[in-house]
């Protein structure tokens, strides 16, 4: 489904290279986790994949179902089924959640020759989706993320994911700022959305999320590269020994540059 090959990216118009050769392959039905220290480039990777204009791909490619998407705009990528749950969801005063989601849903439907939903049909459709993350329907008529608590913002991202039903989702630290109850709700929601036709890449610092959403693969990102991949046990190892130990081990093995 997604194949990232030797991806290099820098900040547009500046000489700051952030991604320095990322390789990642994600198949339908898989759940991946990316862990890594602050500033290693995890969010940047998710933004580059979603088409943020702030970054420029200087080398490598991003293939989505075989098509190179590096030149596509963010909305065109969303039409193909890409979704990013933001680490810091943006507040947009004056536009309600419902307005955004209806516009988004119908734009994506149109791009894929699927039927659009009229306001009444859409109302039924999203009301149903509210259950996925146990949100009240007053949420729909509030301005996007405006005045939401940290936890509500994260929930809202997953709610949007449920509504737009993407093929591939990057969840950037969706677990940060959630208390244990909210974490359970959000994880349940993600598990309900996950199926064998879609795929999820979670970015997180904590193993606790992975206890609720079981990843098939865990990757470690450091200094702009995925330096090690493994199964769930890699997350446990990181939790126990930290990134420094991993880095030393890799240097000893001559794997790191």
């Amino acid at each position: 489904m997604l194949e990232i090959k030797n991806l290099h990216a820098k900040v547009e118009g500046e000489d700051i290279e952030i991604l320095k050769g990322v390789n990642l392959k994600v198949n339908a039905g898989e759940i991946h986790a990316i862990m890594g220290p602050n500033g290693s480039g995890k969010s940047t990777l998710s933004k580059v994949v979603s088409g943020h204009p702030e970054y420029e791909v200087t080398e490598g490619e991003i293939l989505f179902n075989g098509e190179d998407i590096t030149e596509l705009d963010a909305d065109e990528r969303a039409h193909l089924g890409l979704f990013l749950a933001f680490q810091y969801p943006v507040e947009v005063p004056g536009i309600t959640n419902k307005t955004l989601l209806r516009e988004a849903y119908n734009t994506i439907a149109r791009a894929n020759d699927r039927e659009e939903l009229d306001p009444i049909e859409f109302e039924d459709y999203i009301t149903e989706k509210l259950d996925v993350i146990e949100m009240k329907d007053e949420f729909l008529s509030r301005s996007i993320n405006t005045g939401f608590s940290g936890g509500e913002k994260k929930k809202n991202e997953i709610f949007q994911m449920a509504v737009l039903n993407p093929v591939l989702s990057f969840l950037d630290e969706t677990d940060s700022g959630l208390d244990i109850d909210a974490l359970k709700v959000v994880s349940d929601g993600v598990n309900k959305i996950a199926n064998d036709k879609n795929a999820i890449v979670m970015i997180t610092h904590y193993q606790r999320l992975l206890n609720y959403i079981k990843p098939d693969y865990v990757h470690v990102m450091m200094a702009g590269k995925l330096i090690k991949s493994g199964g769930f046990e890699l997350a446990e190892e990181l939790e126990a020994n930290g990134y420094d130990a991993l880095e030393k081990e890799l240097v000893l093995n001559g794997e790191a540059q």
Binding site: E54, D73, A74, D75, A78, H79, F83, V90, G94, A104
Partner: protein, 436 residues
């Protein structure tokens, strides 16, 4: 002053003279006064502080003739511009001239008057208040209207009377062979504890050049209440110079909302004057301009007595080479304690060449007052655009929604549904215009 500079007058730029053709003695007296003021007041230049940012060449370079000499086109069918809520409560003025045929006033509460000034010239309220409320020193535009108007709109709401239907004052301007001037006039008299909603509209039906100089006067007696929406959709070649003023007695409420969409040059000097204690008023504005448009608002909120609550939210969106000027004066007189005044000017710049000048001007001589003011100039946030775009919305749609959201608050204060819809469409059209 060391040097006296002889400057041309308004009249010399426009037509040379403005003859009074008003039938009513009362109106002729105001015409006379206006002409005197005009002859004694030099035309402003950029050296005048109040006109620093505005190039009046578009007025001084063109000759504006009387309507009769302009060979103006027929008005045609303008029923699209009628408001469904005000179907039987509408006064229409075509190029400043009252049209009885297009106006429709029915089913008003007892003793309410919605009509033209010329027909009501003998009304006591007209005689008493017409021309007495305008208060623009050293100005040439209010006197120009004074000198030239022969008719206008008159609204009278008696004591304890509530007019539930919005009253639509529709000024339309047609195409013409020559550039002409028009001097629309509106006198509103709200008796004690009366209440109404006024929608004052200016619409250019074609793309021609004209000079629109309206004066509106609101006399608000004790406890009276008005919601006054002003929608300026003049032709993009027109100049519109407005002088709306309200004077408020005790417990009166006057809430005005000016929407600026049209005109090449828009200059608006709203003034609200407190005439007794305990009043409430609003002087909000929404400006959406692009191309080479200039919109300049010079407002005065004049607190002269204690216990006033006043509010001004002036929102501006600028695109292309357009230029917005805002100068918001808040006066608080020496004994006017317990004033709670709020002023905010928020500007959204959509282009690199757009310009915004903003200046709050607070002159406060009382000590127990709460006055806050602020101005912001910002652009659309890239992060907001990306957020919406990542959800599948095109960049254009994302920008449109963000501008829409910015303007929404002001639009929602219209209180008349069809007007809100109309304005939201205008906002969408505005944001789509830069999709070149």
């Amino acid at each position: 002053m060391s040097e006296v500079i002889q400057r041309d007058t308004m009249l010399s730029y426009i037509t040379g003279s403005v003859e009074s053709s008003a039938e009513s003695v009362a109106i002729r007296a105001i015409n006379e006064r206006g002409r005197e003021d005009l002859e004694n007041t030099p035309f402003p230049t950029r050296k005048d502080e109040d006109w620093r940012f505005v190039d009046l060449k578009s007025i001084t370079k063109s000759q504006f003739c009387k309507l009769e000499e302009a060979n103006a086109a027929d008005v045609g069918d303008i029923s699209d511009h009628y408001l469904p809520e005000a179907m039987n409560c509408r006064l229409v003025f075509v190029n400043g001239v009252y049209s009885e045929e297009l106006s429709s006033v029915e089913d008003l509460p007892n003793n309410v008057i919605v009509g033209n000034l010329a027909a009501n010239a003998d009304n006591n309220s007209v005689k008493e208040h017409l021309g007495t409320i305008t208060n623009y020193d050293d100005d040439v535009f209010a006197p120009f209207n004074d000198a030239a108007f022969t008719d206008g709109a008159f609204i009278y709401v008696p004591e304890e009377t509530v007019v539930r239907t919005p009253i639509h004052i529709l000024n339309v301007f047609t195409d013409a062979e020559k550039a002409f001037y028009a001097t629309p006039r509106l006198l509103y008299v709200g008796e004690m504890f009366s209440k109404s909603t006024i929608i004052e509209e200016h619409i250019g039906l074609a793309d021609n050049q004209y000079l629109n100089v309206p004066v509106t006067e609101f006399k608000m007696f004790t406890g009276s209440n008005v919601h006054h929406a002003r929608i300026q959709r003049d032709s993009k070649k027109a100049s519109h110079i407005s002088r709306p003023i309200a004077i408020l007695d005790k417990n009166a409420e006057y809430h005005s909302y000016t929407i600026c969409l049209g005109a090449k040059l828009f200059r608006n000097d709203p003034r609200v004057i407190q005439n007794a204690e305990e009043v409430n008023f609003t002087v909000d504005g929404l400006v959406l301009i692009d191309g080479d448009q200039i919109a300049d608002t010079h407002s005065i909120m004049d607190h002269r007595f204690a216990h006033a609550g006043s509010h001004q939210l002036h929102k501006v969106v600028v695109n292309d080479n357009a230029h917005s000027v805002f100068n918001g004066k808040i006066f608080v007189a020496k004994d006017a304690q317990k004033i709670d005044s709020f002023q905010e000017n928020r500007n959204l710049l959509l282009s690199e060449n757009g310009k915004v000048n903003t200046k709050p001007q607070l002159e406060i001589f009382a000590d127990d007052v709460l006055c806050s003011h602020g101005a912001t100039i910002g652009q659309l946030q890239d992060e907001e655009v990306f957020y919406l775009q990542s959800r599948g919305l095109t960049e254009q749609k994302s920008r449109e929604l963000l501008v829409y959201a910015f303007a929404l608050e002001s639009v929602e204060s219209m209180e008349v549904e069809s007007v809100e819809k109309l304005l939201l469409n205008e906002v969408i059209e505005y944001t789509n215009r830069d999709e070149k």
